[in-house]
């Protein structure tokens, strides 16, 4: 670093601002460079690399928003099919038609496949079940680059042996109603407080991850209340949390700890091979409501089709842990105009 004689003595606030501007510009540019460098790698493995949306904002690969967001926004996002009694027993046999908005991608490495997730490269990448009967000339709106062709469409077909066989002509994405998460605080009485001082999912929450009784937390921005769930000693946990903030907080009992949910998730992810036809492309904990409306956290698992085979496979590994299956493709009414997600919102618990 240069050190001009008497530099400091010549400094005015304007010069100080100039120097701060130089440092800031350099540091911000380095931050940008770090993100751009991470995006050059086609395989995503760190948090920065997986940030499709943030990357699009940087103007680097805006197309991914067009794919990832469009692929499963509310007109096509995976809907929730959960519980032992909501699945058509014949699902997965090839007799039931499934439909959903999906990204279809064909590359030099594989034929047309159904994407559960799209990697943030250009052209995008994905791997998934093969689509039988696909014809790019029969659709509109696809994109192509470097030997890869992709697009988002509403597909209907039968699901068997790990592949989707089209039974109806694909169309553009269709609107599909989606269930929304209820973030309403379950506490009717809250202590007085100024509100706004607690970082959502912030320091308080971060310190709770190691607590075996901790179930999870969420922010209700309507009421401005941070909510926490514990499987035991709720009063003690409430006192401990209230001692750390002046905000009103809600602490309630929940049946399953985060540790148990994550352990079940680990078990599921550790399975080295799955039966043909079971495609799991995501899992994590999520806020849910039990049959009485009480909040609880469950293990959410994204699959292509929530058929009985998939459900039984999941239950064989995770035991009694409450879970929900989110299916990319859901049963549609036969021989009628596609009714996307027709069975998608009938929710029961998998426990």
């Amino acid at each position: 670093m240069n050190e001009p004689p008497d530099h400091a003595n010549r400094s005015s606030d304007a010069d100080l601002a100039r120097q701060l501007s130089a440092i800031a510009g350099h540091a911000v540019a380095q931050s940008r460079a770090a993100e751009v460098a991470s995006q050059r790698e086609p395989v995503v493995s760190t948090r920065s690399r997986r940030l499709v949306v943030a990357s699009a904002f940087a103007g680097v690969i805006a197309l991914v928003v067009g794919i990832a967001a469009l692929a499963m926004r509310d007109e096509g996002g995976p809907s929730i099919v959960a519980g032992p009694s909501t699945i058509d027993p014949s699902a997965g046999s090839g007799d039931v038609e499934y439909g959903g908005n999906v990204t279809v991608l064909e590359s030099t490495d594989h034929g047309p496949q159904l994407c559960g997730a799209v990697a943030e490269s250009y052209p995008p990448q994905c791997g998934g079940p093969d689509i039988v009967g696909w014809d790019w000339t029969a659709v509109e709106g696809e994109e192509s680059a470097n030997g890869t062709t992709w697009g988002t469409f509403y597909l209907v077909g039968t699901w068997a042996d790990g592949q989707l066989t089209l039974t109806r002509p694909p169309t553009g994405p269709l609107p599909v109603p989606q269930p929304d998460t209820d973030y309403t605080t379950p506490c009717e009485e809250l202590r007085d407080g100024p509100g706004g001082a607690t970082d959502p999912l912030g320091d308080l929450t971060l310190g709770l991850d190691a607590d075996p009784e901790y179930a999870g937390s969420w922010w209700d921005d309507t009421s401005g209340v941070m909510n926490y769930g514990f499987t035991a000693n709720v009063d003690a946990h409430r006192a401990e949390i209230e001692a750390q903030t002046t905000d009103p907080v809600c602490v309630v009992a929940m049946p399953t700890s985060q540790a148990d949910l994550l352990a079940a998730q680990e078990t599921l992810l550790s399975v080295s091979s799955r039966p043909v036809g079971i495609e799991m492309y995501g899992s994590g904990t999520m806020l849910d409501r039990d049959e009485s409306g009480a909040p609880q956290f469950v293990l959410a698992i994204s699959v292509i089709v929530a058929d009985p085979v998939t459900k039984a496979w999941v239950e064989s590994f995770i035991g009694e842990v409450p879970y929900r299956l989110g299916a990319l493709l859901n049963p549609v009414e036969p021989l009628t105009t596609p009714t996307p997600g027709s069975a998608s919102t009938n929710v029961t618990y998998g426990e």
Binding site: A24, S31, A34, V52, G77, D180, G284
Partner: protein, 195 residues
């Protein structure tokens, strides 16, 4: 389906360690982006795109001041990811940019909330910058550092900084004044405030 639990965050952190050996975790995180909430429609996507385009540079700069360029890169992306997943709620907030900053900040461990000149490559090649300045900047309290970085380093106005940090413009000015005093003392320069 939304992944609201802290477990999703913890899994993401695990994925950083496990890398490509855990494709399911990667897929989970991609899914988080793609599952916009019910009823958002085009308005939700378009609205979020506009929001992100506006606030991403602002959040990034503030986080660079808070925790350095490398941490800021991840934290910015994480915060926008969170906003995307919760867009139906975030968009209704009075100060969504401030909320996103708070989310990002809350996810940076305290020990990482520092601005270390040693983490900024090529800092010594910037011409005509007082050698001690970056170190003095790093030594400032968090609020002072972020405020002076944004106002004097990035030419923001007080209200703009206040919006992101969730504090009043007058507080921003106070933090800046104190930071400048500290920097002047450190550089042993006299106060020559420009008009």
């Amino acid at each position: 389906m939304r992944w609201e639990g802290a477990g999703a965050r913890q899994k993401s952190e695990k994925s950083r360690v496990a890398g490509i050996r855990r494709p399911d975790l990667y897929r989970l995180t991609v899914m988080e982006h793609t599952e916009l909430g019910a009823g958002d429609g085009d308005r939700g996507e378009a609205g979020f795109a506009a929001f992100g385009a506006e606030v991403e540079p602002r959040i990034r700069r503030a986080l660079v001041a808070l925790a350095g360029p490398e941490v800021a890169s991840d934290a910015t992306a994480d915060a926008l990811e969170y906003a995307w997943r919760n867009w139906a709620r975030v968009r209704a907030m009075a100060n969504p940019a401030g909320y996103v900053y708070r989310v990002a900040r809350s996810r940076i461990p305290r020990r990482r909330r520092r601005f270390l000149p040693s983490e900024i490559a090529g800092l010594d090649r910037i011409p005509d910058v007082e050698p001690a300045l970056a170190g003095l900047l790093a030594a400032l309290p968090e609020r002072q550092r972020v405020c002076v970085f944004l106002v004097y380093g990035c030419q923001w106005h007080y209200p703009e900084v206040g919006e992101v940090l969730g504090i009043s413009p007058s507080s921003v000015r106070t933090h800046c004044d104190r930071a400048l005093d500290a920097l002047r003392r450190g550089l042993k320069v006299e106060h020559e405030r420009t008009p």
